[in-house]
């Protein structure tokens, strides 16, 4: 800890990726805790569930059947948040018309995929080995590569990965005819994060617009670059490797840190050490090392409170349709936002003050990182089985 005093005083920290502040109240963890204490949970799910719409061979809500897939399987979400084709809408904007200023809307089209991580209903990324996670990363990479715009600066890399990563024998998705702007890969894990099916899977939403969060990050990384001549996340990775107090784990290609500006109690960021702009920049070794990093995070999370740890995670990388400058400004990273604070049942609520005034956290990111550093080793469930 560079400034010991930050362990004790309430303070704000700055998130340079989004350009906003959050409130940190470290002394609040000194509150007595009378909440429930859980006993370690065993995984009691079957490895195949005939009622699961994601298990191999099963029927989905709208009648389609899943193939008897081996690892990953991607399909268009039966209830997508955005549609590929819809009625046109071109609102008039007129500076003198109050309604056109205060009631602004713009159409969004796109396509949403669901992607399974494993054929096994009861697997999670924490249960899988890095080698078993590689097919997931390969599929992410192929899907991203196949959706790039014809003029994308990473087309050379995309062509290379599409010719070297084998096609999924259980089927591939074909991109929509209309070029889309952005691809957001994300996982909601656990009922606490709105996930209704425990079968391991993520979602991939592609949209015609650049969403708020990656948009803000691009703006702030661009500004940092023009102010300093350097990349924000390049500087940040070097700083964390030197300081060590927020470092959870590293390998040759990636660092895992609880970022200085973490909001969620055990928030984690995986950042590439070299300048990787998107999945297609990763080589074979790096994809394996990314799988290792993801596995480390998932396993440490589960070990922390000896539970199936809920979280939302997501990858930020270069947009599907972007300029050379935007691609160069992008720096591959993956966020993990887990709600648990004190135990398997006590979560941090981001509610009244957080929604109306400013995000607020209790334990410091340094305290969180120290705990996550300490819970490597075998997955706690292994010894219970």
């Amino acid at each position: 800890m560079p400034d010991e005093v930050l362990n004790d005083i309430s303070h704000r920290r700055y998130n340079p990726l989004t350009g906003s502040w959050l409130l940190v109240s470290p002394h609040r963890t000194k509150r007595p805790w009378q909440g429930a204490q859980e006993t370690p949970s065993k995984n009691t799910l079957p490895s195949y569930d005939p009622k699961c719409y994601l298990c191999p061979g099963n029927k989905r809500a709208q009648g389609d059947s899943n193939p008897p897939y081996k690892n990953t399987f991607a399909f268009v979400n039966d209830y997508s948040a955005v549609k590929e084709t819809q009625q046109d809408y071109h609102p008039e904007t007129n500076k003198d018309d109050v309604a056109s200023l205060l009631l602004q809307a713009r159409p969004v089209t796109g396509r949403c995929y669901v992607l399974t991580f494993s054929a096994k209903h009861d697997a999670t990324l924490a249960d899988m080995t890095p080698e078993e996670i590689v097919p997931v990363i390969n599929t992410w990479t192929r899907i991203y590569a196949s959706h790039l715009s014809p003029s994308h600066p990473l087309n050379g890399q995309a062509a290379y990965v599409l010719s070297t990563i084998p096609e999924n024998p259980d089927g591939e998705v074909t991109p929509p005819k209309h070029q889309l702007k952005n691809m957001q890969i994300f996982e909601n894990k656990g009922a606490a994060m709105g996930c209704s099916n425990p079968h391991p899977h993520c979602q991939i939403w592609t949209t015609s617009t650049l969403p708020e969060e990656p948009g803000k990050e691009l703006v702030n990384m661009r500004k940092y670059k023009s102010d300093t001549g350097r990349h924000l996340l390049d500087d940040y990775v070097k700083l964390e490797l030197e300081k060590k107090e927020r470092l959870v784990w590293e390998n040759d290609s990636f660092v895992v840190v609880c970022p200085w500006w973490a909001l969620w109690p055990f928030e984690v960021l995986i950042i590439s050490k070299r300048h990787v702009r998107a999945l297609v920049d990763l080589d074979d070794k790096e994809r394996l090392e990314f799988a290792q990093a993801v596995q480390e995070v998932a396993r440490r999370y589960d070990n922390l409170f000896e539970t199936n740890f809920p979280y939302s995670s997501g990858i930020h990388q270069a947009p599907l349709d972007c300029t050379e400058e935007e691609a160069e400004t992008s720096w591959f990273h993956m966020h993990f936002y887990p709600p648990l604070l004190r135990s398997a049942t006590v979560k941090k609520f981001l509610v009244g003050y957080e929604l109306m005034a400013e995000p607020q956290r209790d334990i410091t990111p340094e305290q969180a990182a120290a705990k996550l550093r300490d819970c490597g080793g075998e997955l706690y469930r292994k010894s219970l089985q």
Copy 2:
């Protein structure tokens, strides 16, 4: 609905108060719903709970006893998120030092209050009459008035309300010696919003810094004013009174709308019709009419799914320490963010895509407003008792 097509296509809407966009997917509500259907819940709480740390006469966690108060009672939170006095911290900032750019922290001091709404353990704002809510608003007003800076442009109004609204016979809070910048009044209601004690109460956090949300609103309202010469919320209120489709309820002094840019399924905004800068601007009639508006929202919420409806609410108004220009830019309003979407048990999760990419909602604000317009009338629980 000005553009019928927005009922069917996915689109983004612009929030002019925060300057950000959100994704609206109206067609998503056409998803089949197999979730639970609840039966109307009766309120089964006692009106006095000897174990509740908020009931009159009871002991609190740190040993203090509550007075035998009649309506409201305010005290300093035993576990405040910010402290009044703490060690100094003056970080050095140096443009050439990467750590001072990427690891920024600033001290925050302040004081957090808890304020009960009623002596009755089992009351909620929906059960209380507007006349019973007036003491709550009076207390908010006196606390706000007594915390203003010596040079505050609303000091005249503050002196007037302090001399006309009677003191709380059960005790008043005295402001801290160090002038603070902002006061955030907010309520977390229901376990779904992180509230652990059903005794009706809110919190009031005062801080030495202006938090993110009111800060963003000031920036955007200022910009609108300098662009158009008019106040953003003045224009917006007039627009909603003319369009009617997002209007839930109104009286002489306030409108209740589901704002155009609502994120939460049944999000509501109470806005003053005339230019009220802060609580101290309200006269006796307006405080009663504000109580009526709050009561309408709380009762309609409970009636909607015949349940004790969870939400977080909060008031935005002029900061405690501000310039004439900042006070003039402020426009009194109260946000309500409720998580329920389909029924008493089905909530909207703001998770993966929302956290990583962009806030997303399913039903439109116009659909939500129509439902809330239709559920006025007596509180559903009354006829069950």
